[in-house]
Symmetry: C2
Subunit: 478 residues, 2 copies
């Protein structure tokens, strides 16, 4: 066991760097035993390091004894080993490995960490495309087994690619906004009042009282706008106590939140957000092509399409398109999930884009802090954004006037209210409403679900695939 | 009220851009009324936008009526206004404003958002250095009043600077690690077992069962290492149900966490972390000088000093220095807070650095997953890092062997254990311990408290100053 007994000068070469330029050099590599096959006096190994792998060989001869070949052949799969080996060019490309032009001739081998002999699931079963190998009776791995053994499932090339891409989404989101002059903020997750009303909120015991887990950073990012931060973003967990067991709901997910003051019209906010999304799409296309293709091998999908500038439709236009397609729905009715998806297909057919904005939602279906439309009180200055027909962002101009906000909160039965010196103030959300009493600029924003963006960009079908350790009503471990 | 009635082409100039180059131009500005002083036929305003401000004047004459001067004089402080004004160079620098070379001659003024006439606290009282103005009987604002009215307190130049610097710390942390090949991960905050043992953990109702709030991403970032991500970091909230009302404890704070596989010795990990910290210190020094000086005006402190490479002392050396200074303490005793601070002063005197590493802590005072020292079982491969004598990071080589980890967990009474087919496995932390059963590389890491880094870098004395909406046993709002 490496217990930091000594400092070695030994250089470990990355598997990815094992190319013909290294031919005929004696090098050290640390990697996992991906597969192992003994054959007479030889043992063929595939050594894996993250998404890269290389063929290696131990053969009885000058440099290796019979015992060593036997020892190598007996090392359990997934064990981590250090090998000293000669890099040799190969005549024929090794199609099954990422390092196709070389193999390693092992001279010494040490086990750094031994895996148990029986793995709860096999990596090759985890990366097999749906349907492939069914006729051979090969095992497929269902999602719960994968998630129960997530540490092994995350070692697959597909998982490695998904989460490297996810890391990229966060980085692109923040870099784009930082370049636009946004400030990153940190908002509290333990709060004293439910931000989106009392439903679907987790309760926490907080010393001698109780508190809630934030369903969004909504109230806090708005307070930062009232505090003159002008343009803010935050990346952090949001919690929803929804007892929904669907492909796209989690009880805990990562919110990418934006809020900004605008000058005259909330479309300035929409433009800022859609431009950010476009920068993310372009960044992924340019920087994560390997990851996209790796995931595509297991889960094929059409490349993600988007327009510049982003398509913006009004809600009434969306409803008209749905009605034309035979859907029966009212003007002020919210979009059901099937209708959302249908509309996504109609939009794709007509405009050839997987990303669009639906603007001016009916006021009745939006949260209390949404600014009503100035011309038609049935509607509001609010919008959703969609990828491949599924919602990834909900946003709006917010009410920045304490009086109107109070009226709307009462209308929505948010918390309780009482009169203080002629002014109606909100009980539980008092400090939120108070934020607007000392001058507040017009502002708007939106909240993006990180997992949904990754899922839909890659054309995957379950949000659990893009959450490292997903939480749903039935899953709290690992 | 700006309800997005219309889109205007009007350009709003930022206050920061009001320089002599703009002289004799008619421009529009949106800003807050910082101060207002009417004097006969004139009204002098200071217009503020974040940390910048400019003098403005409405005077009865060709462009402004008597009514307009009166109207301007009656706008409440902190209201947001749009003004159309001619930029004029001034003869004498206006020392009280950031824009010292110009003033605005207002021709039109509109109120965008009216502040209430009485503010719960005055911005100028919030930025006054401790002690200054005491003799004049000027109000000082205590911390609770500030925090109760945080939205106004955050508008001060000091707060604006603190949180822009904090945003910078996060960015430097992530950029440095991304450049080193680290992957950003998102770990769950709702967990089924307390990661650091059962004490000080918040309980959440989770549908029909209960769960905990993560005290750190510890177990999850290690699981990512077992899942071959090699080097990972995460930025997110951590929760501690400690009933401590001190200057440096919060019940919710932001953790900057690092975990990485190493080759031979955990000092590779220490070097990676200290190098990251040094990059942060340098980045702040180079990019946030304005913010550092702004905070320094209200809270003077010595510039933060650090060495390259970072000073690393062993625990026994630290104890020896304390004993030499008259402290009576045992070899395996943990450092008390006063001793930490004293040691910080001794180290500063001897080595002239505000940042150092204390390495090889007694095993007994560290968490169960800490790797014991290979040569002396009283000690461990663990370390803390200090800024200005206060701990900002705790870290270690972790045990990567399931058998040893199980033994140490039993020794620490972490959860319960039972036998399955000859193998002792942990009950509540089974999925964590299981992660090490299928090959795990030697690894280590640490967790940094964001607020402490900001507080100590700036030489502040209360962590609540660097948390936008702090949470402690007595505070849950705003």
């Amino acid at each position: 066991m490496v217990q930091s007994q000594q400092k070695l000068d030994r250089v470990l070469v990355r598997v990815q760097k094992l190319t013909p330029e290294k031919a005929d050099q004696l090098i050290w590599v640390r990697a996992r035993i991906h597969t192992s096959r003994a054959k007479g006096k030889q043992c063929f190994l595939v050594l894996r390091q993250q998404q890269f792998n290389v063929q290696a060989l131990v053969a009885v001869g000058e440099r290796a004894s019979k015992q060593m070949v036997k020892f190598a052949a007996n090392i359990n799969k997934e064990s981590i080993v250090d090998v000293e080996a000669m890099v040799r060019k190969v005549e024929q490309k090794i199609e099954s490995c990422t390092q196709q032009d070389v193999e390693l001739h092992i001279e010494r081998i040490f086990v750094i960490s031994q895996a148990e002999p029986r793995l709860p699931l096999q990596l090759e079963d985890c990366v097999r495309p749906d349907g492939e190998g069914d006729e051979d009776g090969r095992a497929t791995v269902n999602q719960d087994t994968r998630l129960d053994n997530r540490v092994i499932d995350l070692r697959t090339t597909t998982s490695q690619a998904i989460f490297r891409l996810q890391s990229g989404v966060c980085q692109l989101f923040r870099d784009t906004l930082t370049n636009k002059g946004f400030v990153e903020i940190q908002t509290p997750k333990i709060i004293s009042a439910a931000s989106e009303g009392g439903a679907n909120v987790f309760t926490v015991s907080y010393f001698k009282t109780s508190a809630y887990l934030a369903q969004s950073p909504q109230l806090y990012k708005q307070m930062c706008i009232c505090a003159d931060f002008d343009k803010v973003f935050c990346v952090g967990p949001v919690f929803r106590a929804e007892d929904s067991n669907t492909h796209r709901h989690l009880t805990e997910f990562v919110g990418l939140d934006i809020e900004l003051a605008f000058n005259y019209h909330y479309h300035e906010v929409i433009e800022s957000i859609t431009d950010t999304m476009v920068q993310i799409f372009k960044g992924l296309r340019d920087k994560c092509q390997t990851e996209i293709q790796t995931v595509g091998k297991q889960y094929p999908s059409e490349p993600f399409k988007f327009l510049e500038p982003t398509l913006r439709l009004e809600y009434t236009e969306g409803v008209a398109m749905l009605r034309e397609a035979g859907v029966d729905m009212g003007d002020e009715e919210d979009l059901s999930t099937p209708n959302e998806k249908l509309l996504g297909r109609l939009v794709k057919e007509k405009y050839d884009t997987d990303f669009y904005v639906l603007d001016k939602y009916p006021l009745a279906v939006r949260p209390f802090y949404t600014m009503p439309d100035p011309n038609d009180k049935k509607y509001s200055n609010s919008y959703d954004m969609f990828m491949r027909g599924e919602e990834i962002l909900s946003g709006a101009q917010r009410i920045h006037d304490a009086q109107l906000l109070t009226e709307r909160a009462i209308h929505h039965n948010i918390a309780y209210f009482y009169y203080v010196t002629n002014t109606l103030v909100a009980g539980k959300i008092k400090s939120y409403i108070d934020s607007f009493r000392y001058g507040a600029p017009p502002h708007g924003g939106g909240g993006i679900g990180l997992e949904r963006v990754c899922m839909l960009y890659l054309g995957l079908h379950n949000v659990r695939q893009v959450s490292m350790f997903p939480r749903d009503p039935k899953r709290l471990t690992p």
